[in-house]
């Protein structure tokens, strides 16, 4: 014990000296502060991305020579571009539906519900269950003569089983179900941040409910909407489990194709080239959508 005190004293002194030293040197301090997060970002995001980029120019698994063949192969047929296009279509469908549903849900939570927190917890609850298990549950619900069909036929809404499983509709339902909570949260956050007086102000100035929604509520919560859309669109574009389990024979998405290259054929260079093409496509599409849709980058603090 007697030896501990001086040590503690010395450590405290050292800490104090260091912090004084840094305080007088703002650039060094900035460097020290940023070192950890920057290192983390580089290690987790930048380096893997660079490795993937490097792989995409290899002729075979490393060690191998550099080549553009992978890109040539990917772009020379309309096979992969066709799959990317199809993936784009279902991504847009999913995003539009999830955005509308999620926004309506968040809107009613904010405007009409006294138990918003409880309902929000219910919205997030499915996240506690494994993704694959939830997909299996949907297979049970959607299969011919499954839960949905039984319900529809029991209530005499339909007379024959629909058998939605293994169709594009099933894939869409799966996506909507999976991403809805993820989109609802940013929508909810932006709606609670919005000043409710703005709605009164619009009504006061003669705008009816729909006009108010379109000209005030929607634009002032645009940041949240954009975040929600990005959170839905990007994972939908890359997904391969949902379409594999719920989709039929003609629901291939680009994520499944890339997975095949990495897993079945062990053709990482070609898979990496496809992934690079897809990443560039998604980033470009998102940037264009952002520039057209909002002035997110120009305008900070819209929420206030």
């Amino acid at each position: 014990m007697s030896g501990a005190q001086p040590t503690v004293g010395r450590v405290t002194e050292l800490v104090r000296a260091t912090s004084n030293y840094l305080r007088d040197r703002p650039r060094l301090r900035l460097f020290v502060l940023l070192a950890l997060p920057v290192t983390f970002l580089v290690a987790i995001f930048v380096i893997p991305l660079l490795i993937m980029g490097w792989y995409s120019f290899l002729s075979d698994m490393p060690p191998a020579s550099l080549t553009l063949d992978n890109y040539a192969q990917a772009l020379s047929t309309d096979l992969y571009l066709g799959i990317i296009w199809r993936t784009t279509v279902i991504t847009i469908q999913t995003t539009v539906i999830v955005t509308i549903l999620g926004y309506s849900m968040a809107y009613s939570l904010v405007r009409f519900s006294k138990k918003a927190t409880l309902l929000l917890v219910l919205v997030i609850l499915p996240f506690w269950t494994n993704y694959i298990i939830r997909m299996y549950a949907w297979m049970n619900i959607l299969q011919s003569g499954g839960v949905l069909d039984t319900l529809l036929m029991w209530t005499t809404i339909t007379s024959e089983p629909l058998g939605l499983l293994y169709t594009q509709t099933a894939v869409l339902i799966g996506f909507i179900y999976i991403w809805l909570p993820l989109a609802t949260l940013p929508f909810y956050a932006s709606l609670t941040n919005m000043d409710p007086n703005l709605i009164d102000a619009a009504k006061d100035l003669g705008a009816g409910p729909i006009k108010t929604f379109l000209t005030v509520t929607l634009p002032t919560t645009m940041n949240g909407i954009v975040v929600g859309i990005i959170l839905v669109a990007i994972p939908t574009f890359g997904s391969f489990i949902t379409p594999a389990l719920l989709g039929g024979t003609d629901n291939v998405m680009i994520g499944m194709t890339i997975e095949d290259q990495f897993v079945s054929t062990f053709n990482w260079p070609f898979g990496a080239a496809l992934a690079v093409i897809v990443s560039l496509f998604v980033v470009t599409a998102m940037l264009i959508a952002l520039l057209l849709g909002t002035d997110l980058f120009k305008q900070q603090g819209v929420d206030q």
Binding site: D195, N197, L198, D200, A201, A202, K203, D204, L205, G206, A207, G208, K211, T212, T215, V216, P219, T220, M222, Q299, G301, V302, Q304
Partner: protein
């Protein structure tokens, strides 16, 4: 001609009675303040006139037509919100244009009226800016312009100046009066700040606990308050407890601090002031004087010590600690903190209200 007629207005939120049987009229072109402490129901009255709340009982007639049940977007009323509620995603010009667009004013006319309005509120050249790029005072002007550009029957203000510093607030008060005079639009202004209300209003409606205490010009409320609450709220008063000894015509003899004084009873108070009644005697600081610690020969003398002195433009306000509590006195006398003094009053100007201290 009356623009707004409110009769027996009641608003209940569950158990709470926010507005209790309020009736008043507002004339065309008037600048009326609705004054009261927070929670007195003033904002609720405003929101009912705007249409954001529906009354539990009573009627609101706007320009000859009842508006009970009419949604806000169909009322010819505009509001300046407490936090202004400018649309953050729109430019100043688009904020001002919002109401005009809703009522289908063509673009050319809109542009013209926006320009006109920007010059009325002294914001020429600010049309393309976003609200967040403006100062607090400039934002106030935009909010005002957004309301009056629609030329409504009445503009409602929900304490929009509360967040400004004193100097800016005083400046905006003058601006409000100027703009109201220029446009001739009826203003109804809600505030808890009697100074603002007194400064800007033609008439004031003073609320207390959901009920209207008194309606009148600032002078009427100051000179002829109907209750101790009004007297206390509009300007300062010093209050003493007394007992009525005698009432002759409009003069009451009241036993006060071991002596008797005579005060003039206001017509409105007369029926309530009867012999033997305990009353609150309220006297304005200007009606009290400070004298040296020697006996003045007045019937009521209160000994005390100068606790504080505050110079104002036209005199000195003394805080004097006495056995009757701390008194506020306005005088020109040359006393310093710590001086032993005697306070006397011209009691005929004091008010007596039923109910004691």
């Amino acid at each position: 001609m009356s623009i707004v007629t409110v009769e027996n207005l009641v608003k209940e939120f569950g158990e709470l009675v926010a507005v209790d049987d309020a009736s008043f009229e507002i004339e065309d072109g008037e600048f009326v303040s609705v004054l009261g402490p927070s929670g007195s129901g003033k904002s609720t009255i405003l929101r009912m006139i705007a249409g954001f709340e529906e009354p539990t009982g009573g009627t609101i007639v706007l320009n000859g037509e009842s508006v009970v049940g009419v949604p806000p977007f169909h009322r010819d009323v505009n509001m300046v919100f407490q936090n202004l509620a400018l649309f953050p995603h729109l430019t100043v010009a688009d904020n001002i244009a919002y109401g005009l667009k809703q009522s289908g004013v063509p673009k050319a006319e809109r542009t013209e009226r926006i320009e006109e309005m920007l010059s009325v509120v002294d914001l020429r050249g600010y049309g393309d800016r976003k609200p967040e790029q403006l100062s607090g005072g400039e934002q106030q002007r935009v909010a005002l312009a957004r309301a009056i550009v629609n030329e409504p029957e009445i503009v409602l203000f929900d304490e929009p100046l509360a967040s400004l510093d004193r100097k800016l607030r005083q400046h905006m008060q003058v601006e409000l009066q100027r703009i109201q005079a220029e446009t001739g639009i009826t203003f109804m202004y809600v505030t808890h700040d009697q100074e603002v209300a007194v400064a800007v209003s033609d008439r004031m409606i003073l609320l207390n606990d959901g009920r209207i205490e008194q309606i009148g010009t600032p002078e009427e409320l100051y000179d002829d308050p109907v209750s101790k609450f009004v007297a206390d709220f509009i300007g300062d008063v010093n209050t003493f407890s007394g007992t009525v000894r005698n009432v002759v015509d409009d003069t009451a003899t009241i036993e006060l601090l071991g002596a008797t004084v005579e005060t003039t009873i206001r017509a409105s108070q007369a029926p309530m002031i009867t012999e033997g009644e305990t009353v609150a005697v309220c006297i304005r600081p200007s009606q009290l004087s400070v004298a040296n610690g020697v006996e003045s020969g007045e019937t009521v003398e209160i000994a005390g010590t100068v606790e504080n002195r505050i110079y104002q433009g036209d005199g000195v306000t003394f805080m004097i600690q006495t056995d009757e509590g701390r008194l506020t006195v306005e005088d020109e006398a040359p006393y310093d903190i710590g001086d032993e003094v005697t306070v006397t009053g011209s009691w005929t100007e004091a008010y007596a209200f039923p109910g004691g201290d």
